[in-house]
Symmetry: C2
Subunit: 453 residues, 2 copies
Amino acid sequence: MVGNDHTSRVWKGDSKNFKSRYPNTGAGFLIYCLRLMKREKREMKGFFQVQTPEQLLQKIERFKPISDERVSIEDSLHRVLAEEIISTIDLPEFPRSTVDGFALKAKDTYGASEKNPVLLKVIGEIPMGVVSDIVVKEGEAIKVATGGMIPKGADAVEMIEYTEWIDPQTLSVTKPISPMENVVQIGEDIRAGEVLLPKGHFIRPQDIGLMAGIGKKEVKVYLQPKVGVISSGDEIVPIEKDPSPGEIRDINRYTITSMVKENGGIPYFLGIARDRLEDLQEKIERGLRETDFVVITGGSSVGTMDLTMEVLRTFPKTEILGHGLSIRPGKPTLLADIGGKPFLGLPGHPVSAIVIFHFFGKPILRVLSGIPKEHACDEIKIRAKASRPIPSIGGRVDYVRVKLEEKDGTYWASPVFGKSGVISHLVRANGLLKIDIHEEGLEEGEEADVFLI
Amino acid sequence: MVGNDHTSRVWKGDSKNFKSRYPNTGAGFLIYCLRLMKREKREMKGFFQVQTPEQLLQKIERFKPISDERVSIEDSLHRVLAEEIISTIDLPEFPRSTVDGFALKAKDTYGASEKNPVLLKVIGEIPMGVVSDIVVKEGEAIKVATGGMIPKGADAVEMIEYTEWIDPQTLSVTKPISPMENVVQIGEDIRAGEVLLPKGHFIRPQDIGLMAGIGKKEVKVYLQPKVGVISSGDEIVPIEKDPSPGEIRDINRYTITSMVKENGGIPYFLGIARDRLEDLQEKIERGLRETDFVVITGGSSVGTMDLTMEVLRTFPKTEILGHGLSIRPGKPTLLADIGGKPFLGLPGHPVSAIVIFHFFGKPILRVLSGIPKEHACDEIKIRAKASRPIPSIGGRVDYVRVKLEEKDGTYWASPVFGKSGVISHLVRANGLLKIDIHEEGLEEGEEADVFLI
């Protein structure tokens, strides 16, 4: 895991007198003891205090939504409600028919059948959008369309399917109905004073429709979080540049800013930080000043992570919430709270960065967006069967990149194997299959949860 | 179903001599015969040629994507590729390490074990982003970080976990490795000339990352379809207006334009059309002139639908693809092709309009956006158990509004009952449970597919 200079220096000193320089020479018991001592020292140093994903996720509850603004309901799609929506009216505001048919007194239809229909006098028609003064009396019916108003005197609507014109004024009815059948009563949809949508609700098209229905034109929603994104590493170059050997184009800038957008945040790219304290410091400071959440990728090499930690310690209100996760890919993850703003350090591997942002960056973004903490991690999981055995090492949560396909109503997940760090196999995948911390892989046909990517 | 004036007129004529005007009078065999004749005539008239959803969906294949444009890869999220992405380079462009460790010759490690480690001379370190001229010789190793370049002479990387510093120049190695272990070779991720993404691909964050990785700054994507949305009905008023009794606020404008946005289209609201030929004609014409796809809601009442059909017939290249669907809710759906542009008539009920737009409007929008026809209806389905019995009438596909909840890894669907047309129960729902055309409801605990709304 670690090419750590501090650790190396300790051992360089301790092993000063040991001089076996040649390959294939057994070094035996002494090396074995040295190794044990080294392990102990690392643990004492608290290097990578590895946590489970659940432990780390509990810590994001401390973050709070930014502020709120008023927008027209048309602009509120996929935003989060910063107010309760309470109805000021009854809906419908008048009794309405739910079918095309004839409004009448239900008791006039009692006993009607195909063989023994009831005949009623049709006294007119109620056009849509029009209020009628007509009163329906015993033995009478009035034509009404779906959504039309039910006139006084009528208490039910006979569907047109169960009626027949006998002559221009006479209707035959072949089915008995009960009072209120095919009628939506005043306030049956919505009652005045009723809480329709809670604060923290994610706004979907039907919710906008509901607000339109009660005449609400504007709504208070939480601000979209601004997210500062930093790439880091001496080998990283902007994609415009032809990389020299040893250099790599900055993939993470594009994947992470896209994921921020996809999840309701507004991304700000802060640049590529070199592995130097001042450069990291400048970019992190700017991020904390100008945005609500700072994400850095490429802190996976221990050198950069150490520098990052050094920068974070210069801010008075820094609290390290986690450093190291029992997850694959993504072990070297860093989460901090800097004066109430979240700071997330992601691995430099594009694939690991995407996986960790999915499971940690996204919930943080949701909390900042105003989604209640208990729903921050809500996500649809597809139950799928492994199309072939999928190995895994226990002791960590493993997210295997899979291609999800439906065959005859069953979802099958095929692992997309490839060495870590290659982006092409994440492009071939459309899901992340979870193998839990205590499991050691899946057999063919065994079921597991798949998260969509 | 039908308050159809044409049909009524026919029967008014035919029943001229039949004079039983009084309620509760058995009309017997004559009425029975008249009813049979009426049914036959209706069928001959081809009124509501009811199709299955599958039959209608096959007909959307005729529609074509609009045109294309070049955008920066940052702006290509959730757009659809109008070109193949072919790599011009090998990725990686140099052999890279996938771990933190030591680059060496694999054969030097053969036979190494915890009890019998191999000792190697460490000849230096390769910093990230730097090309080294060092050549690794037999018995030598060089420190390398994840992503770092593998120097000449070396063919594998030993992970740091299986090494131990013996003195500042000497490393002990305790595990044998094979050639190429922990090395990504040139072109192993991506080969020059390889098709990375096909035309018609929906662009996700990882796809943008892949394009960044090969240095692609701009990409050709299909234009987002412009969708003209018309509300219709004499009873419909803008939401700003306090509706008089009998009037209803225009909910559909907001739900349908939001669903257009949610699915990658650009909505244009064309106004509320009154139930008059000229008004409908003006709005439909404007929609066909200024947008790529016209959607009208409120054509569910037969009167409006007849008017709409009359307007459509005035365009020389109109082809009616379907009129009436064996689906609930949403039977009175109209689909036409007007000179290559789709025209969709939705029911006026807000709930029905949403359901039909979900299953028909969305696939049309996807085809216009450039998604291949065979993927136009791709959608994630959640397999869920009915939390209580859900009745259904056979002979049509039934979409029951349900609330989906996860309990101990199983999804349960609870029907949200309520009369058709009430928007509040669609707000309480988050899924549509499908009961197929030949099924007659679900028992408690029985499984079915749920579509997310």
